[in-house]
Amino acid sequence: MWLVRPAQPGDLNDILDIAGGQGPRMSSTLPKKQDALSTKIDQSTRSFAGINKPDEPKRFLFVLEDTRTGKVQGVSGIDARAGNGQPFYNYRQDALIHASHELGVSRRVEVLYPSHALTDHTLLCSFAIRPELRGTDAFELLSRARMLFIASHRSLFTDKVVVEIQGVQTQDGEVPFWDSLGRHFFNMDFETADQYSGLLSKTFIAELMPPNPIYVTLLSQAAQDALGQPHSQTQATYELLQREGFRAGCYLDIFDAGPVLEARTDALKSVVTSHPKTLHAASTDDGETCLICGGDGGDFRSTLTPLAESLQDQVKVSPKTWEYLGLSSGNTVRVTPL
């Protein structure tokens, strides 16, 4: 059985192990160092409990637990406000028309503008899962449980949700966009920069990037080709988020030019389809597999369950599922189809 629940201090080593299996990615919000991760888990715990320190941003970290072994096999997160009180940097892909009436020419010039426009929107982040689980129901549970959490704690989040998708990287680990742009300003390769990025705030690093617009035509061809393109490994994530209602807009990751997906919170599939319902017992284990969640704050749990019956205001699921969710008959849950 797969269960998504808030991350706890005891999950530290499992999460470190999973994070270590990820390649270098500067925009990742998942620390690979023990201290930083431990701090993040503590902050998440306070966020779930609603006892944040003054001015402390709300950052939620979930884990995917295999209940048979108790091992954590995946991790995902939500930052209630992108940037967490600091500017959140992206490039905005835009165009200028360079035209001359006198010379009878008009030319479209693609430009990347540094932007903070997505700052303070809710950000889905820190997603990492064992490679063998990618594309499975557990993978979908880990990602979409966040949408269910947003649906059941709507007031904590903004009207728009964004998510950064990892950009193109070659098999040797080279990032064409970085090599054509960022590297000139950092004087280091992507992997080295990535190691630093775990130690310093993203803002700090973003501030080393050039503050002026970048002309796309001056980037290497490989970098131009990579603009807005997801890493091949993110295929499943990308498709899942598209089904959820996310679309690529004009924003790109400043380090690898991966796409930033955007959605209106109230139009997310999981939010639209998951109404609060009362939990009742089902007499059978049959039924279509659904995502189900319940519990407030730190008690939030989400899992996969066969849905025996769904009526206007109530659902019937096996009491075995109640156990995982820590709920009992009469409690409120949300259910959404896979």
Partner: protein
């Protein structure tokens, strides 16, 4: 005798022939009869003070008095960028630094600039191949500094020259290929030609306005920024000897440097002296090396004349010149003339 005088209408044929012979690269004087005729007319209006001082275009002809023909031309534009927009790239540096990351990276950056607006430019130097050598080019170029010296109120305090940048024998410019052509679908030679026809600011308006970070350009393009075409090396050396220095501005098309100097610090200006004319009867050997020649100007705005004489003519208060020289300069005994060494004497 070779004499500098204002360019006139009847110089058109000679000028057109020279412009044709110059080929690509001389953007300010394209081989276009109508355009050249307009320039001559503009110059005439300027010398006759029929146009505003800031709109002045001073074009000087080098006349071979035996051939009775113009064999070279040089010019001064009183102010650039007043009726059109004058663009350069300013070569500057962006520093990205982080003590924590141990990063301190200097990134050379080009910023589009109009900083030269309102500044006096020396321009349009062209010398017929038949008359090159023996200091003729120096006379053609440096006579302008004598003019600037005597009529400073018509010009800015600073004067600059744009030097032709690097392009190969096919007229390909590495900077244009890496930068300009990405924004303007055109060969460098064509853009250059359009510039000469007065369309430079139109083209400039199609160029990128945001800073260009040089590491994003290929090495071939970066290597030519601030460098002059090999044919322009002598002209650059001549200006450097006059005290001109690279001012950090480069041409937006080919990356050629601009060099500038304050008029009061130009060598020809600093070393100039005034003397009263005395017509000499004694014969004079005029065929002396350039090192021993001095320029002599009649200090006339409307009928400006400059030629060269041997330095030995200069006395304590006077300069004794043969009658034919006095005639060519349109001066008489007792008139005040100005003299300056033709060549850099090494004095500082």
């Amino acid at each position: 005798m070779l004499v500098i005088r204002p360019l006139q209408e009847n110089d058109l044929d000679a000028l057109y022939a020279m412009a044709q012979g110059a080929g690509k690269g001389l953007t300010t004087l394209p081989a276009d009869r109508a355009l050249l005729a307009r320039k001559i007319q503009h110059a005439q209006e300027t010398f006759n003070q029929r146009c505003a001082p800031e709109a002045g275009l001073y074009l000087f002809a080098l006349e071979d008095t035996e051939l009775k023909r113009c064999v070279g031309i040089s010019g001064i534009q009183a102010r650039v960028g007043l009726d059109e927009v004058f663009y350069n790239y300013r070569l500057s540096v962006t520093v990205n630094a982080s003590r924590e990351l141990d990063v301190h990276v200097r990134t050379p950056t080009l910023h589009l600039s109009n900083d030269m607006t309102g500044t006096t430019e020396v321009c349009s130097l062209l010398l017929s191949s038949s008359h090159r050598g023996g200091g003729t080019g120096l006379l053609l170029s440096r006579c302008r500094f004598m003019f600037l010296d005597d009529f400073r109120s018509h010009f800015s305090e600073k004067v600059f020259a744009e030097m032709r940048g690097v392009s190969d024998s096919n007229g390909q410019s590495p900077l244009w290929d890496a930068l300009g052509s990405k924004f303007f679908d055109m060969e460098f030679s064509e853009a250059d030609m359009l510039s000469g026809l007065g369309n430079k600011s139109f083209i400039a308006e199609l160029m990128p306005k945001s800073p260009i970070y040089l590491p994003m350009l290929p090495d071939a393009a970066r290597a030519v920024i601030g460098r002059v075409h090999e044919n322009t090396e002598p002209a650059l050396k001549m200006l450097q000897a006059e005290g001109f220095n690279f001012n950090g501005m480069v041409d937006i098309f080919d990356g050629g440097p601009a060099v500038e100097a304050f008029i009061h610090s130009i060598r020809t200006v600093r070393e100039g002296i005034n003397r009263h004319v005395m017509i000499r009867k004694k014969p004079l050997v005029t065929d002396v090396p350039a090192e021993q020649q001095v320029m002599i100007s009649n200090r006339s705005f409307r009928d400006f004349r400059v030629t060269t004489i041997p330095a030995e003519c200069i006395g304590l208060d006077t300069v004794s010149i043969p009658a034919d020289v006095a005639e060519a300069l349109e001066v008489e005994s007792g008139d005040l003339v100005r003299l300056a060494p033709l060549k850099d004497t090494g004095r500082r």
